[in-house]
Symmetry: C2
Subunit: 349 residues, 2 copies
């Protein structure tokens, strides 16, 4: 009789044998909410089957993936489980796609508390339910102690692209407006404060949220007047806007007084010496809109709680083969916004 | 002027800024063979777009994912790059799907030689080309030294399921035959020998290969007479066959003398104290076939170089609520085959 530690992940949980099956059937699937017994017997085989909706004929799919290495695993407002679901949902959403299904692959560290795994999966399940997306297949690997820090999650998602979506850098025109769905930097700062043990006077929580309802409403109402959408994650608003400028070959002007900022986030960014424009967000949307619908886009966004502070924050300027992004500052000065070089914030997502 | 180490991965390569863009544009995309300039401007945004083939209307998609944590990264016959592509191609293939596109997500260790990354990506690209599959999107994260061992790769794939494929445990019938495409255990043993510095007299190389052409030929020729397919990876043939027995509620008999084995693999497995039935394969197919087409399936398989030793190795027995898998041994004895409990071989794929 061998003593079995049933509270921690063991290397054998990743071996593909009985222990792997037990972990998946007793922890992963019930927590994710998959009702295996009710599913087709193919449910636990190598791939998940997804029925293509009727309207998908002749259409396009969107396919996306991200790995999540955030440290610590849990922080105010979210955790790696919620982040992994929202991140992939958002990449599909900003591509104009309605999610069909997503994958969730775990790389677990030997010795990880199974209770922590369960908590992360519960959080992932809750986020998936809120977004109306199903986790349909996955993978579980275990590496030796120290091989990863607790866990790494990878998610991938596939969706059907709305025929009304005509998104891409190519559609961006001089005079288009940049709409931002809310205040900047809360995800990156919440993770950093947690990591460094900084307590802020007021609560600072990650903005991690799914943007698919928001994006769908914009596309449904405004169609091809929505030129381009992106969620400004790593590199923040700065990286997104500089990429828009360089890829569309247009100058861009950002209007600093119009950019929503949360007071606690501003204080935290000053304390940590970070530029809010470059800090990661996980529940914000940058949308480039035809100017005549920009106010309408703001109104549509503001109906969503996560975008109650949506605002027009900038304008697409002239064509330029060497485009420039400028921030018109609060005091009327001009500052060039550059692509962040590297990253002051490793393991932020 | 800061000294820049251009030969090794830095944390800043994962920041989502300029260095990330350079790594992707100068190393990842050219190596994977993506001709960015020729692509639609959406190419580098959050998701890849895939056109749905005409015949897909009203059909099904297959979606799959796997993470690869193999150590060492390179071993005789393959490496983590090739493995990551073949693994996902194979999961789609055994599901009866023709791949539409796949993702490739990297988690890199700070300090990793960029030359090693390039080699792994070249290998992935070569495997994708050989399988006729496109890597259409990805992700790059960097973690601090010691955060992972060199790199972890996750791939996910989406494919359109052939309307001729009627695969699943539910279709398995008493009298069906089990066809195996070739010799067992070469992947797991090649990795273990490399890891432990064991040199075998004759070469022992991983069998890592893409099975999509093989699976497509079987489905095209034999349709619903192909009941079920799986690539016996972690847990080997034993795990696959026990899963078939338990999920279909049928006894299974394996015929040991019929199971192809490579002599060097047998020697290595004896030296390492491993049961060849439980060792991982990465280029082998287990197919459950209606008995009347089993010989035809073997003939179809043998036309493929990777399946030149295909053979009928077992039979599906009676319905049984507590099914038993038995191996009829070389000397005519009977041995019960069990689901491997854990895994003697961590980080094998």
């Amino acid at each position: 009789m061998v003593f079995m530690d049933t509270k921690h992940i063991q290397l054998a949980h990743g071996g593909g044998g009985q222990l792997t099956a037990e972990l998946i059937e007793q922890v992963v699937l019930p927590t994710l909410g998959a009702d295996v017994s009710a599913q087709d017997p193919q449910a636990l085989t190598d791939a998940a089957y997804l029925a293509l909706p009727e309207g998908a004929a002749g259409g396009r799919l969107a396919l996306t993936t991200d790995s999540y290495v955030v440290q610590p695993l849990e922080f105010p407002g979210a955790d790696i489980g919620k982040l992994a679901v929202c991140g992939t949902v958002n990449d599909l959403a900003v591509s104009g796609a309605v999610p069909l299904g997503m994958t969730l692959a775990l790389v677990l560290e030997e010795g990880l508390e199974i209770e922590v795994l369960r908590r992360m999966l519960q959080s992932a399940a809750k986020a998936a339910k809120a977004a109306g997306v199903r986790v349909v297949t996955g993978d579980t690997k275990v590496v030796e102690r120290g091989g990863v820090a607790g866990m790494i999650i990878n998610t991938a998602g596939v969706g059907v692209v709305s025929p009304r979506a005509k998104l891409g850098f190519a559609g961006i025109r001089t005079g288009d407006r940049i709409v931002l769905s809310g205040a900047l930097g809360e995800h990156g700062l919440a993770v950093m404060c947690q990591r460094k043990g900084l307590a802020m006077r007021a609560e600072l929580a990650s903005d991690c949220a799914s943007l698919n309802a928001l994006c769908r409403d914009l596309i449904d109402a405004l169609g091809e007047s929505v030129r381009f959408m992106r969620d400004p994650t790593r590199g923040g608003l700065a990286a997104t806007v500089v990429d828009v400028a360089q890829s569309s070959r247009h100058d861009v002007e950002l209007d600093e007084p119009a950019i929503p900022v949360n007071r606690t986030a501003r204080a935290a960014s000053e304390m940590l010496g970070l530029d809010l424009l470059t800090v990661a967000n996980e529940g914000k949307l940058v949308a480039i809109m035809a100017s005549e619908v920009a106010d309408q886009a703001v109104a549509i966004m503001r109906k969503h709680e996560i975008a109650s502070r949506a605002a027009v924050v900038g304008t697409i300027g002239q064509k330029n083969s060497d485009p420039l992004v400028e921030l018109i500052t609060d005091i009327g000065g001009r500052r060039v916004v550059q692509m962040p070089y590297g990253e002051e914030l490793p393991r932020i997502c």
